[in-house]
């Protein structure tokens, strides 16, 4: 068992669990409480009998048949249409000016599920959680439903014809004045159609001014590339070609526009292209990921070495690394002036040991190194990234540059500032706001809401009547992208087509339609406008087939931006850098503003799926919080939920504390987009609005922040401690975490490929009865922990596919969330430098399932293909199965969660899956509806199911393809090969449950190759890398 002991790193789920605080014990008590009043809520026994009596009476009155149903066939069925067979269409979702390629499943005319478009250069079949959740946004009953017109005090109902009349009258005047006092504020868009219409607008109204604002912007990159190369450019990373990746506060795998393709490539390079195949020999590459960042990101969680530093310190370390590299690499970019600029930024403190190791790796790998600096750093710090990539020869291999599509536009902050100036001086009489929500997310120092009021006519096109709409004279309902014709360009420049899946539910219109209206274009429909522009762009030759192909594929291949190899202008850059020195160290704390992985800048805040999805790092649901590192928290004397009053630049906000291991010392962080004032009922009272502290000069971090205790506390709900049992059980469990989520190092794997199988006790196979033989199909799953980034895409995919209810904050607080797949997040090592380990857990479909053995009514039984079937109609809700499940993957419907859904929201339901009622147990089915439909199709064709034909929703959505599913009886199947992989292990195999889901151990690649291995409680961070 000595191998076993060697892996017994110190794993823990939360600081409270680790410290065993009184609060945690109280939480445990609550978890196992069987107080009936607590289960029943406010309903008393007397009420219950009253209801029972009434319903018995009603039962006698109703007929013996269920309600009559109507069949409404088509009057003329479209060609190729088959009733009840879902069809899929490619379309595009634009966020922050980048088109995301999607394939949307439509069931009898209702879009119900969003998946990534395999042909799209960035999505490649995968998607993130928020994109998938937008299908629910389309059915949100709180979306704005009609045109509204202000009577000076409030918005009153109006109509499109009335608005069209107004436009005809008003814009005739605007056009006559050449648009001199007309301004448009749009969210970022790369739509070719919109760009063309914008050109026409400038022709017909030369005086009109176009502004663009996004709260979350990568404009710093345009500025830094301008400094370094003389023109603004867009940076593309190719981690697939890298051997070492260094991220300075760049969330390559989370919030980067190309995060999905970055994650796929990085994971691919890390584990080898054949990561789920082959037999292990030298299958791992040596890719090593270093991350320097203030707050944990998904990229930080995947890091081999991570350094948590203050936001302002990132630049100092980057400069130090560059100077060290300069001593080893003779490159023309390190001119004396550049060196001087770097020296000035480096400061006097020595480089941390990790940074020294990083330098050695960078120098060793040269052109196969990749340095990424995030958009939250200043242009000067980003420029260090360009310097390093240029010096190492990475440009053209791991880092590509393309020309910025709009080189002359103002940055988003400058743009909104300029608009505010124009508004305050009274230059703007008519303001048209297309999307966005500046009243909520514009820099707080600009007080944009007040400035807006200076424009006499304020027209807003928006999905919701939100903070901005409330300040406008006209509100126009915007068509959701699933209802819209349009286009966009992917981050790599590929032109993407957007086609509607459904007619606008609330008579919404798209930005291009509104601009068309303002321009008095002859074409008014989005389809005609788009088709007209595409006909101009594509040319008349063979237009129809090419147009159809573009709509079919969702993307026009070969339209990506061409990479260019820019020359670094070292001395010009040095002058710029010298002109923008690092700010002197301020007293107090530094507060970082993070883009939210769920809500982005807050526009998705009214989405219940996203509200309930646990944040990948903090595992908080329904709220955000002020993230504070453990040592600072104890210094301040605060614990989770204590409210802190944060003062930055004289602005104050209160927010509860969440103690976050791995957060940089004396730094605070909060995600944007929560705490919206007018987002809707779902978002009401959820979270805290960090935009109230965000100024135009401090967009990503603010220094010199003062905090004091507000003396209150706020209930935060996180899923990280759920499924705890009691103190003894918890202790036992904690001591076994290393057996659940198995990890090793690359060196260890090369020395002993099957290391993972030998962690944990030996599984004795002593069956009590004859084991079932599985001769036909034998379904199984493999989850590669080396590929899992913990992003939570699978959680939302499963929720959409399987009609999983949202239960709300109170119920999540009681451990009653319904997600069939959860992503367990463990911390390893000491709280200051904690590493993160993720493990998605779903029903393991045990061959000897403990749940099946205790069900008194046989509501959970085994199928002949090895599925653990759950039969809702038999279930009487004893919950014995859940008690007996060692993996804690069964979910109980404590209430009829779907009861209060509106008919509109019910349109999202997947008709292939039963909607469960109160009192029944449910759990992952391996997406049995997908298995059955493929099986039926295959059998109709008299053939066997082919490998890869069945993809459960979680596996389909996974950006890194960490989940393999298929027939274990097929020796060539991806899942069979994965399960035969040396890294494969079964969780809790010693219980002889024989789970069908198998995990592949995670490999870390630390500098000293796992030499630390053997010492209990080691962190993955080496103390002295020179011994490597």
């Amino acid at each position: 068992m000595d191998r076993d002991a060697s892996h017994q790193r110190d794993y823990w789920r939360s600081l409270e669990e680790r410290a065993d605080t009184p609060e945690f014990r109280a939480f445990l008590e609550e978890q196992v409480s069987s107080n009936p009043s607590e289960w029943l809520g406010p309903t008393t026994r007397r009420d219950f009998f009253k209801l029972m009596g009434a319903s018995l009476g009603m039962a006698g009155l109703t007929a013996c048949r269920w309600p009559e149903e109507k069949i409404l066939p088509y009057t003329g069925r479209p060609a190729g249409r088959m009733d009840g067979v879902p069809s899929q269409y490619a379309t595009t979702f634009e966020l922050g000016g980048n088109g995301r390629g999607l394939v949307v499943t439509s069931y009898d005319g209702r879009p119900i599920k969003i998946e990534g478009n395999p042909l799209h250069p960035e999505n490649r079949g995968g998607t993130d959680a928020l994109t998938q959740a937008t299908v629910l946004e389309m059915y949100d009953p709180e979306r704005s439903r009609s045109v509204l017109k202000s009577d000076g005090r409030e918005l009153l109902s109006s109509s499109w014809p009335e608005f069209e009349q107004f436009v005809a009258a008003h814009f005739a005047g605007v056009r006559a004045g050449e648009g001199a006092n007309f301004a448009i504020l749009a969210e970022a868009s790369s739509s070719p159609t919109l760009a063309r219409l914008r050109g026409r607008l400038h022709e017909s109204m030369p005086g009109a001014r176009w502004f663009e604002y996004e709260a979350i912007s990568r404009d710093v990159e345009r500025e830094s590339t301008g400094w370094a190369f003389g023109q603004p450019m867009r940076v593309h990373y190719r981690p697939a070609r890298a051997r070492v990746v260094v991220s300075f506060d760049e969330d390559l795998l989370g919030t980067h526009p190309a995060a999905i393709t970055n994650a796929r490539d990085l994971v691919g390079a890390r584990t080898g292209e054949a990561r789920l195949d082959g037999h292990g020999q030298a299958e791992t590459s040596e890719l090593r990921l270093y991350v320097v960042e203030p707050a944990y990101t998904l990229t930080g969680a995947m890091a081999d070495h991570r350094l948590a530093v203050l936001p302002s310190e990132v630049g100092r370390i980057a400069a130090g690394v560059a100077l060290e590299v300069a001593t080893h690499v003779a490159s023309p970019v390190f001119t004396p002036s550049v060196r001087a600029a770097l020296e000035a930024r480096r400061g006097s403190e020595p480089l941390p040991a990790i940074a020294v190791a990083m330098v050695a790796d960078l120098v060793r790998h040269g052109g196969r190194a990749l340095v990424a600096v995030g958009p939250s750093q200043s242009p000067a710090v980003q420029a260090i990234g360009h310097l390093l990539n240029s010096a190492l020869g990475s440009i053209g291999t791991t880092v590509l540059y393309t020309a910025d599509p709009e080189p002359t536009r103002l940055s988003h902050v400058e743009s909104i500032r300029a608009l505010r100036e124009a508004l305050t001086t009274g230059e703007i009489g008519t303001l048209l706001i297309l999307g966005g929500n500046p009243a909520h997310d514009a820099p707080v120092d600009l007080d944009f809401g007040a400035a807006m009021a200076r424009a006499e006519v304020r027209i807003r096109l928006g999905l919701y009547v939100d903070e901005t709409s409330e300040l406008c004279t006209w509100h126009l309902p915007r068509a959701h992208y699933l209802e819209s014709w349009g286009d966009s360009r992917a981050y790599d420049g590929s032109i993407c087509a957007q086609q509607p899946l459904i007619e606008p539910l609330f008579a919404g219109r798209t930005p291009i339609e509104v601009i068309g209206l303002v321009l008095d274009e002859p074409a008014r429909k989005g389809y005609d406008l788009m088709r007209g522009v595409w006909a101009e762009l594509m040319g008349p030759e063979q237009f129809e087939p090419r147009w159809r192909q573009a709509l079919h594929d969702g993307v026009v291949t070969g339209t990506g931006f061409a990479p260019i190899t820019p020359a670094l202008q070292a001395d010009a850059l040095a002058a710029r850098m010298a002109g923008a020195p690092a700010a002197p160290k301020a007293d107090g704390f530094e507060l970082a503003f993070l883009p939210d992985l769920k809500f982005y800048d807050g526009r998705f805040a009214n989405n219940p799926w996203l509200q309930e999805m646990p944040d990948p790092i903090s595992k908080l649901t329904w709220d955000n919080a002020l993230l504070v590192d453990p040592s600072t928290a104890s210094e301040l004397g605060v614990k989770d939920g204590d409210v802190l009053r944060v003062t930055a630049d004289g602005r104050v906000m209160d927010a509860p504390v969440w103690v976050q291991p791995g957060q940089a010392k004396r730094s605070l962080a909060i995600t944007l987009g929560h705490g919206r004032a007018a987002a809707g009922k779902i978002a009401e009272g959820a979270g805290f609005d960090a935009f109230r502290l965000r100024t135009s000069n401090a967009q990503f971090a603010v220094a010199g922040v003062q905090v004091e205790r507000a003396g209150r506390s706020y209930k935060l709900v996180s899923t990280q401690d759920h499924h705890a049992i009691d103190k003894v059980g918890e202790k036992e469990r904690t001591s076994r975490v290393h057996e659940l989520v198995r990890e090793g190092t690359v060196a260890e794997f090369q020395h002993h490929p099957e290391f993972a199988k030998h962690i944990g006790p030996h599984a004795f196979e002593a069956p009590l009865w004859n084991q079932q033989a599985y001769d036909g199909y034998k379904w199984g799953m493999a989850i590669d922990l080396n590929s899992c980034t913990g992003c939570g895409s699978c959680v939302v995919a499963c929720q959409a596919e399987n009609n999983i209810p949202v239960v709300g904050k109170t119920q999540v607080g009681k451990g009653r969330e319904m997600h069939w797949i959860r992503v367990d997040r463990y911390f390893a090592g000491n709280p200051e430098e904690a590493a993160i380990a993720y493990q998605p857990v779903t029903c393991q479909h045990c061959e000897n399932a403990p749940c099946e053995q205790v069900c008194p009514v046989a509501a959970t039984v085994h199928s002949h293909e090895g599925l653990n079937d759950q039969v809702y109609n038999r279930c009487i809700g004893t919950r014995y199965c859940s008690n007996n499940c060692p993996y804690k993957v069964r979910r109980f419907n404590f209430f009829n969660y779907h009861k209060h859904l509106t008919p509109l929201e019910k349109m999202q339901f997947n008709p292939e899956v039963t909607v469960r009622a109160r009192g029944v147990m449910e759990k992952c089915t391996y997406c049995v509806q997908r298995i059955n439909s493929v099986k039926i199709r295959a059998k109709n064709d008299q053939r066997r199911v082919r490998d890869g034909e069945i993809t459960p929703a979680c596996a389909q959505a996974c950006p890194t393809q960490a989940i393999a599913f298929g027939d274990l009886n097929d020796p060539e199947s991806r899942v069979r090969k994965a399960q035969d992989h040396p890294r494969a292990y079964s969780m809790l195999a010693e219980l002889f449950t024989r789970p069908r889901t198998v995990y592949l151990a995670r490999l870390r690649n630390p500098v000293d190759g796992g030499a630390e291995h053997g010492h209990e409680g080691d962190t993955p961070v080496p103390q002295d890398p020179h011994h490597g």
Binding site: R65, P73, L867, T914, Q929, N940
Partner: protein
Amino acid sequence: MSGNIFPKWVDTIRPVVGAVLLGAPVYILALVYFGFWPTTRVVGHMPKQPVPYSHAVHVGQLGMDCRYCHTTVEKAGFAAIPPTQTCMGCHKQVRAESPKLLPVRESYGSGNPVPWVKVHDLPDFVYFNHSAHVTRGVGCVECHGRVDQMEEVYQAKPLSMAFCLDCHRNPDARLRPPEFVTKMDWTPPGDPAETGRQVRQALQINPSTDCSTCHR
């Protein structure tokens, strides 16, 4: 007197109360037993349709194949109800003025569907797939009865879980070569079980009785 709270006349209804108390359990049991019996609830269910469409005329007399209208039955889970276009294909000429066809003509003109009433309505937690059965040689008649003789369609079989399982457990007697699935009056040339056995072997039919086959 304090102990006597019931008035005198109560004595007269005592035998009635006794009879009710004795009879009630029997009555309730019988009510529940027969009330929930599948036959009671569904067999013979014949809702009124907006158009008195006669399968007896179209299939029985004119000899139209089921798949002329229910086109998707071999490929999809649902046997599609035909679009109004299909009806009008003939009825533009044939009985073009018939008042019975008014809803069809209205639908054709307005584009609004004809609101047919579902006859064979399985519960929402049951997933039945037509294509999986029709391509395996389960005749339409096995579940729908002699539709070719029905003036108005009614439910001929219980379509209960027991009904499904009978066949899934012992399919031989109900299988026929797939080319005859829509032939309502088809009879096997010899022993039905032997014909069925041959079909089962040829098509490798192995009906599953796992719960997730129909419930998911």
